[in-house]
Symmetry: C2
Amino acid sequence: MKVAIDAMGGDYAPHEIVKGGVEAARKLGVTAVFVGNEPAITQELTQYRGQTFDSEVVPTTQVITFHDHPAQILRTHRDSSLYQAIKLVADGKCEAIVSAGSTGAQMAISLVVLGRIRGVLRPGLITAVPTLAGDPSYVIDTGAVADCTSENILQFARMGQVYCRVLTGKQMPSVGLLNIGEEQEKGSARIIEAHKVLRAKLTGFVGNVEPKDVFRHAADVVVCDGFVGNVFLKTVEGTAEALFAMMKSSLSSSFKGKVGGAIAHDSMHLVKDRLDYSQYGGVPLLGVKGISIVCHGRSDATAIYHAIRVAKDVNDQGLIGELTGLWK
Amino acid sequence: MKVAIDAMGGDYAPHEIVKGGVEAARKLGVTAVFVGNEPAITQELTQYRGQTFDSEVVPTTQVITFHDHPAQILRTHRDSSLYQAIKLVADGKCEAIVSAGSTGAQMAISLVVLGRIRGVLRPGLITAVPTLAGDPSYVIDTGAVADCTSENILQFARMGQVYCRVLTGKQMPSVGLLNIGEEQEKGSARIIEAHKVLRAKLTGFVGNVEPKDVFRHAADVVVCDGFVGNVFLKTVEGTAEALFAMMKSSLSSSFKGKVGGAIAHDSMHLVKDRLDYSQYGGVPLLGVKGISIVCHGRSDATAIYHAIRVAKDVNDQGLIGELTGLWK
């Protein structure tokens, strides 16, 4: 399997991206196809001389910055690493694309260059959220479609079920609707309508799920519109960040805390890792004709490695074929 | 000042409610007017014999349960502790009402029995969220109006500014719009529209605020529609809960962690308290003609004490007059 890796996207590109790609090539046996500035990539690769792994370099000349508007990039940045990496998948030269660059640009280019799976109204982003039960829950949509119809949400639910089944082997994953209460009449008008549609049409629907219950794994898949899903995800991140900062300052303010904090440090780090959903393998955009995995801008080599691992898993299990089968 | 206290509302009623009310009466010099089952309240009060504080008991006979629908309660439960406590404020016999009972019922009864301040389209719930900067940020609406117009959000912003000014003395509190990105074009159609209206009409508007920036005190007041605000709040709660649970299990799984955890325990508890927004004094419903403070169902005596403390503060500073002045 060949994975196109946008070597120039992300806060720690190309160093961490190449590192993660090499690790994936070594451990998973995939071919890492690094797309981007050739001298920079080649320079990074010299660090892994003597190691055995398959890699290729596809040179590109343009760089996307956060000032570039996704819609414009499609016309003006066709020789960017992100565009060309996605094109490798569209042209059948790679089986998946992984990038830690601009999420908006990756969504826009994937939509246009890969195209939608027949029957899909809008693709959605699916994110694994760690739970106390051990297994993650998969939340969709976490940012692709800010204004969803009930039909969009129903499609997200179905695609989420397929994704969960492919990854976990569970035959009928349960689906909950992210909401502010368990009762059917809770939420905005749009959510109440979506609840009705899910109840009528979706096998495996278990009703509303409150944010706290996501962490208790109340459902295998949690659906929501992209605006609410993104608020949810960013609030989880923000709360965890704030909490660790508070704990750190609280621990360092007393001698007793300092001693305890030093010893407890390893455990805190473990929990931090567990909450860090980048460790769960990036965020696939479901509904386009190809595996396109969006990584956090702050992705390090480990996050890139896990994204490629998931790309391989879902490719081996025939994700795109399964999704295509939903609307046949 | 007389504060009507719904002695029967909340998971720990009447014990913790009466305890918090007595503490407030002792320390703040208010008169605690306990409303509810007279024998139960009197029984609780015997524990504080010999202490000096002002209290009254207003007996009622009915009890609201979570099965009762807020709209029906207005007709069928007029002799409930919640209804009668709110009525004491409407009749001018008390200056504020505090309850840890059903939020929906308290909102519905407050709206009908107290009535809206002239000019207010919809009242909103305002919640203090702890930040790393020390001072809390005030988030409005956190659950009263699930489907907001831009005009609703503009009103929430103005009421939030008044509330913040009254509590902190800050003359022109800054207001941010809770959103998934800083750029003006981010978010749902409704939020993009609200952004435009705030930018055009609100002095002190600082633009969009992402969830993580709420904890950095990016704005004194953060506005959002009630659905998103409630998701935000419940996600903060859920994340903190999950994180502490993960940390606890991680710490107790190793000897090193056990030792560190035992020592770090006090500090973790401090942080937990700091994140617990019930300590910040309950959640006032802004826009009704009277001070109506909604407390978390799990409120203990401390939470009730703080809610009464805030009720006294805002009453002393003339909150209702200030809010009324907004639309004169």
